[in-house]
Point group: C2
Chain length 121, copies 2
């Protein structure tokens, strides 16, 4: 119940038109291309996967460097790119920054690739 | 070789696991990053949108150059990138090539961003 309501809300806001739906404007396409550029990196995809799969939906930056053979500044750079693309938020609490995915951003992308319009056609 | 090999590999490895689900392997992340690189271009996103939204799901290349202020070879290049990423197929019939999206590829991406695992958590 609650989850379909939430999705409906986002959908009626007009954010989640599928690629098989209305024409993307040049501006919408440019904005989406920026998001996909942020996703077009294996380390950033794995970071997003790690954050999204944490129990409670939140990951401490202190847990995000271990899985990679990369320096902390490099990981921080990738997290910044994901933040700037509107895919995650970061909140400093004490020593560490804690990251969460932005559900609306993922829902929008999921809706973009949804195939319902094919089925209805 | 098959032009959709990359996405097929990912798909058979675990078809529509969400980012909030199991950990992506380095190889899965690398394959997905290639797909997002193909999507990280406004013209390619608009081409995919045009193809996906055609009645019957099929677009003649002859209808894909008009909406853009680009040369036919440039459009062909972008279509080739989408084909190589496993997002569309192209079939020559007579004078023209006809393009379709690959539904499994879009479903895979839609599932990647699906939020069910957040709601269930």
């Amino acid at each position: 119940m609650s989850k379909s309501l939430a999705l409906e809300d986002v959908t009626t806001a007009g954010c989640c038109a599928p690629l098989s739906g209305p024409q993307l404007s040049e501006q919408e396409a440019a904005e989406l291309a920026k998001v996909f550029k942020a996703l077009a990196d294996p380390v950033r995809l794995r970071l997003l996967n790690l954050i999204a799969s944490q129990e409670g939906g939140e990951a401490c930056v202190c847990d995000l460097t271990g899985p990679f053979d990369l320096t902390a500044p490099t990981i921080s750079h990738h997290l910044k790119v994901l933040r700037q693309a509107g895919l995650i938020t970061g909140e400093r609490r004490g020593t560490w920054v804690y990251y969460r995915v932005i559900p609306e951003a993922l829902t929008r992308l999921s809706g973009l690739f949804a195939l319902s319009a094919f089925v209805d056609a």
